[in-house]
């Protein structure tokens, strides 16, 4: 039995994350990311297929008979926009895809359609605003994507997303869609370097941001013994300016992978929560518990499929989720990969011998 070589994050992995972050894959059209995923994993996985909704499902068999079948889910889609109407002169009305705060939109640069045509969501210059106008948010109906009269190829139904380009800033990573390209990159590494004791059912899912739709059908097909969703979750860890304690931080940057106990869609299986926490403690991997309440991951769909699947989620914290740029820490990403790998390496059927 060979030594376990746990996967690590190096320059190659960061370069892959950059490619993933810069690719455009708004819910429902994940092709740009799917292509990268397929290129990366097809030489490594035993079975790779794309299902009816566009999920990429891949298997890494265990080295022993009767091994635990573990589904790992990471969603490929990002939040973004869909063109609704051509208002002529290169101006396009658009709708939101996924949960976006309209207040973060004015002034942002975007990329539209399969050809990534650049545009701007315009904002009224401040010297032309009226009294009180700056206190109100601009309704979505008044916003337009302006492509500078270069919109001949753009039509209703085209998707668009923020134009942010990925950068590494020392210990931090900045880019759009790090929710959930961090999870996708992590899962790619695990497919390439799986722990040998489990059967790994990797699901790169679609349409998470609009209702966990890919995960639901992927879980039905995988029919695993248990599941872990790997995602990115908000960190609201900036200090409160009045010097009171920040008690609603959700997660904190630099405090390690965030283990979910409860969100709006899932009450994590306590056996899996305990297993992850104990693994982190004995492997000296920093970790945190995400504050209970709100939000959701693919686990919300997975755990209710068929006769039920014990599930938990682990996320890389990121500030400014669902905006044009997420800030994450490289160390949190490294520790998330390490935690999932170690947790799978010491997992066997005995975890299910105690009832939930």
């Amino acid at each position: 039995m060979s030594e376990l070589t746990p996967p690590t994050i190096g320059t190659a992995q960061i370069a892959l994350l950059e490619k993933l972050s810069n690719a455009c894959a708004v819910s429902g059209d994940e092709q740009q990311v799917r292509k990268i995923v397929m290129e990366e994993i097809k030489a490594h996985a035993e079975d790779v297929r794309v299902d009816a909704l566009g999920n990429v499902l891949a298997v890494r068999r265990a080295q022993s008979e009767g091994a635990l079948r573990v589904m790992l889910a990471a969603h490929m889609d990002e939040i973004g926009f869909m063109i609704v109407d051509d208002d002529k002169e290169g101006l396009f009305r658009f709708e939101l895809v996924g949960g976006i705060d309209v207040r973060v939109l004015p002034g942002k640069t975007v990329l539209v359609g399969k050809d990534n045509i650049p545009g701007v969501i315009g904002a009224k210059p401040i010297h032309l605003t009226e009294d009180g106008e700056t206190g109100r948010k601009i309704p979505l109906e008044s916003l337009r994507i302006d492509v500078g009269q270069n919109g001949a190829k753009i039509k209703p139904g085209d998707r668009a997303t923020f134009a942010t380009r990925f950068r590494q800033l020392g210990p931090s990573l900045v880019g759009k869609a790090l929710d959930n390209r961090l999870g996708v990159a992590t899962l790619i590494e695990l497919v390439k370097n799986p722990p040998p004791n489990v059967e790994l059912l990797a699901a790169f899912t679609v349409q998470e941001e609009i209702g966990l739709r890919g995960a639901r059908v992927a879980a039905y097909a995988c029919d695993p013994d248990l599941a872990i969703a790997i995602d990115s979750t908000p960190a609201f860890d900036l200090p409160a300016w009045d010097e009171s304690e920040n008690s609603a931080y959700n997660t904190r940057l630099g405090a390690g992978p965030a283990i979910y106990i409860a969100d709006a869609g899932t009450l994590s299986d306590p056996r899996l929560v305990r297993h992850l926490a104990r693994t982190a403690e004995s492997a000296a991997i920093p970790f945190q518990f995400r504050q209970p309440g709100g939000g959701g991951t693919d686990a919300g769909a997975i755990h209710k499929v068929r006769a039920g699947i014990p599930s938990v989620s682990v996320s890389v914290p990121g500030r400014y989720a669902h905006t044009a740029a997420i800030v994450a820490r490289l160390s949190d990403w490294q520790n998330t990969l390490a935690l999932v790998y170690q947790s799978l390496s010491n997992l066997d059927r005995s975890i299910l011998s105690v009832h939930r």
């Binding site: 609603a248 409860a262 929560v273 209710k304 009832h355």
Partner: protein
């Protein structure tokens, strides 16, 4: 039966953390069921009997979980911030007592309200467990708590937290105990995570694949001062649910329940509930669909720490359930 009810309602078991309740149920029915198993979401599924001539595969579901609270933050002075598990409302919390799964006890209070006539939000509430700092607080982020109220009897009416839905759990246990014969393959499901979206019923119904199902749950009443008008009252017997916020009962099931009650001389009420739903909704939409209904136990003050049922109603519910499953079901 009151001792059983008291044991059940006083156990701490919010959604997702029902194991203490399940162990109690297992101890009560272990000798009565032909087969028992616990599934991936913690549902306890107990099979009784096999299909005889004219029998069906029948699923009965009462949920073990109660609404509760989960700690989100412990501040530097040892006060615990929390969010809810299931439909808890702020006004039923203030001044109330809680008990955590780990045994710690506390009370809920609130910050000074912004204005005296606005109800506080959960962000303005906190739990005081008597700690003086984060370091000596026995509670940490993620810890689970339920309301903490003792069971009392008031003039033939029973009051406690978690009558929703432990009273139905008790009814199902007593029905199983009283059952002498059934032509059906019966699945008594003590389900989990109903309060957060019928999750246990969803998966247990998939694995049982029943031909007909009844949920047993509480329903509200219209017999208290100046409340929403509703025909159901305490003391008038089990309620046969026609419709609630998430489900239209199969009319054939309603007719079967009404016919059975009338034939057996059991008082009953017809129930139309404008809000809320039960496990039956999830079961109805499982796989290719299931004919469902619900037997409701009339209850005052649902989702408060002091839910009230009428003991006669409860006993009649046991009787009706036994009658329903003791004979072939003519859906007609």
């Amino acid at each position: 039966m009151k001792e059983l009810i008291k044991k059940l309602v006083e156990t701490v078991g919010p959604s997702g953390y029902e194991s203490a309740v399940r162990e109690l149920v297992q101890a009560e029915i272990g000798a009565l069921a032909d087969e028992m198993r616990v599934d991936a979401l913690g549902n306890l599924i107990a099979r009784k009997g096999a299909k005889a001539e004219g029998g069906m595969r029948v699923m009965l579901s009462a949920h073990m979980d109660e609404i509760g609270l989960i700690a989100t933050h412990v501040d530097e002075n040892g006060f615990v911030r929390f969010t809810t598990i299931g439909g808890v409302r702020p006004h039923t919390c203030i001044g109330g007592r809680v008990q955590f799964l780990n045994g710690a006890r506390g009370l809920i209070y609130m910050e000074k309200p912004e204005s005296p006539d606005r109800l506080p939000s959960f962000e303005q509430l906190y739990i005081d467990v008597g700690a003086t700092s984060r370091a000596n607080c026995p509670v940490k982020v993620g810890d689970i708590a339920a309301f903490d109220r003792p069971f009392v009897e008031l003039n033939g009416r029973l009051v406690s937290k978690a009558m929703d839905d432990r009273i139905s759990v008790a009814v199902m246990i007593e029905a199983l105990r009283a059952l002498k014969y059934s032509p059906h393959e019966l699945y008594f499901v003590f389900s989990t995570q109903e309060e957060v979206g019928l999750r246990g019923a969803t998966t247990s119904a998939y694995s049982i694949d029943p031909e007909i199902a009844l949920s047993v749950d509480v329903t509200r009443v219209g017999d208290t001062p100046k409340d929403i008008k509703m025909e159901v009252s305490l003391g008038k017997g089990p309620a046969v649910k026609v419709r609630d916020g998430g489900m239209l009962s199969d009319p054939r099931v309603v007719r079967w329940m009404v016919d059975t009650a009338e034939k057996a001389g059991i008082p009953y009420q017809l129930e139309v509930l404008e809000g809320g739903t039960t496990d039956a909704r999830a079961i109805q939409l499982t796989r290719a669909g299931v004919p469902v209904g619900c037997m409701s136990i009339p209850t005052r003050y649902i989702h408060s720490p002091s839910e009230m049922v009428d003991y006669n109603d409860v006993q009649q519910c046991v009787r009706l359930l036994v009658e329903l499953i003791s004979a072939p079901i003519q859906l007609g």
